[in-house]
Amino acid sequence: MTDTNSFDQQVVLITAAASGLGRGIAIDLARHGATVHVWDRDAQALAELSSDAKSENLAISTRAVDLSNEREVEQAFSATIEQSSKIDVLINNAGGSLHTPFNFLKQSKEDWERVFNLNLMLTVKLTQLVIPLMIDRQYGRIINIGSKAGRYGSLFAGANYVAAKGAIHALTLQLAQEFGPQGITCNAICPGAVMTPRVQGLLKERQSDEQRQKVLNEIPVRRHGEVDDIANTIAFLASPQSGFITGVLLDVNGGQAMST
């Protein structure tokens, strides 16, 4: 049964986790006993995370990485492996719409490239680096952050973001199929809007009070998701206990949309 010791001796790598959702996930897994490597470009937020982790005696190791730079990602990977020698759990958390326009007709080619590079190509690059290590040990948990938007579209994120998340979903299924025989599972969670400061800002900028209330009325449980809702779900999917679950896109959306 899932308990606080279930990540003892386990090594987790998570991207873009100095703040927001990723930070919550990293802290939660460290509290469950994991050694967690956090990569992020925001050195100041990393320093704060590091000091918070130290005061709680959590095994969180931070590294400043420009995730848009392939060479830096490769170097960070080598350094991380030197430190921990294995990765049991990879959480591809980096993503976002990067303040590109919501309106499809106003999105430039560059808006698409930037969003696809961060949301999709970084996941491709990093997962290609990590999977050989997992194959060696015939064990691995890959967790991608999909989105309700990738299944059903979005009222506040644009087509580039939605399409990138859809691609993440498809990638998840393919990796599950391709690497299942090696004991590696690959799943994604599909959150609705999660109330991080970034999303709160986006909602405020792009929706009126009235629109926001209307959305809330369409969520059966009548609230938005919180960081803990997502972190708890990831802790389950990342655990050894979820070994027969693979290729799943798990909805964490308060019933807002129910997939088949």
Partner: protein, 244 residues
């Protein structure tokens, strides 16, 4: 005091595994028509739970079993795992009696269990979980599309359960009750004849059947506070045989 969980179909296979594992965290009341009478006894695993003879197609029996469970404390979780299957048969060889019995136990039984549980789960702000099946999502399409027979009645009953879950989730959310489903693929146990296991494992990306304990882990997660923002979801536990 541990909260109370009621598990139907608790005499064997997935239901028994759930009852055994839930007994670490809940006071479990297991219901099954195979139980002889009310008794406390050891499960085959670690679990000790109260066993109550009960037919899920009988609303009065479900009501009194829930009342009995309530005397132990608030009922935080109700898991409907009771179901039957039959060996593979074509539709032309499926009798109306066989169809009705399948619907009566697998679908109407699920309706009776959940409907009767509503006031108990509202009181505890608890969660309901219904065991459905990969077969309820896609029948035999994709996995084993053999025209000689598809167990149409079983697949249709499990598809009905999936639809029931979504209605329950929407209707009960305002009362603070979450409802989810679990859709197992091929799981070791008596539901699948053992001589078929090796052949099935070959078709599964993880190259093995699932264990009843793996369904129990997922069931525990969905009923727990960790899943407090998940409702109306059907979680696949199938080793990658159906994805999405």
């Amino acid at each position: 005091m541990k909260p109370v969980a009621v598990i139907t179909g608790a005499a064997n296979n997935i239901g028994l595994a759930i009852a055994n594992q839930f007994s670490q965290y809940y006071q479990v009341v297991g219901l099954d028509c195979a139980f002889q009478s009310e008794e406390n006894s050891s499960g085959s695993g670690d679990g000790v739970f109260k066993r109550v003879a009960c037919d899920i197609t009988n609303p009065a029996e479900i009501e009194s079993a829930l009342q009995l469970a309530r005397t132990l404390g608030p009922i935080k979780a109700v898991v409907n795992s009771a179901a039957i299957t039959e060996s593979r048969a074509s539709i032309k060889d499926t009798s109306i009696e066989s169809w009705r019995r399948m619907m009566d136990i697998n679908l109407t039984g699920a309706f009776i269990v959940m409907k009767t549980s509503i006031p108990f789960l509202q009181e505890s702000q608890g969660a309901g979980l219904l065991i459905t099946s990969r077969a309820g999502k896609v029948g035999y399409a994709g996995f084993d599309p053999n025209p000689a027979g598809t167990k149409a009645h079983y697949c249709a009953s499990k598809a009905g359960v999936i639809s029931l879950i979504k209605s329950l989730a929407i209707e009960l959310a305002p009362f603070g009750i979450r409802i989810n489903g679990l859709a197992p693929g091929s799981i070791e146990g008596t539901m699948i004849p053992k001589e078929l296991w090796a052949g099935l494992a070959e078709k599964i990306p993880l190259k093995r059947l699932g264990l009843p304990t793996e369904i129990a882990e997922a069931a525990y997660f969905l009923c727990s506070e960790s899943a407090s923002y998940i409702t109306g979801h059907i979680l696949d536990v199938n080793g990658g045989t159906l994805m999405g």
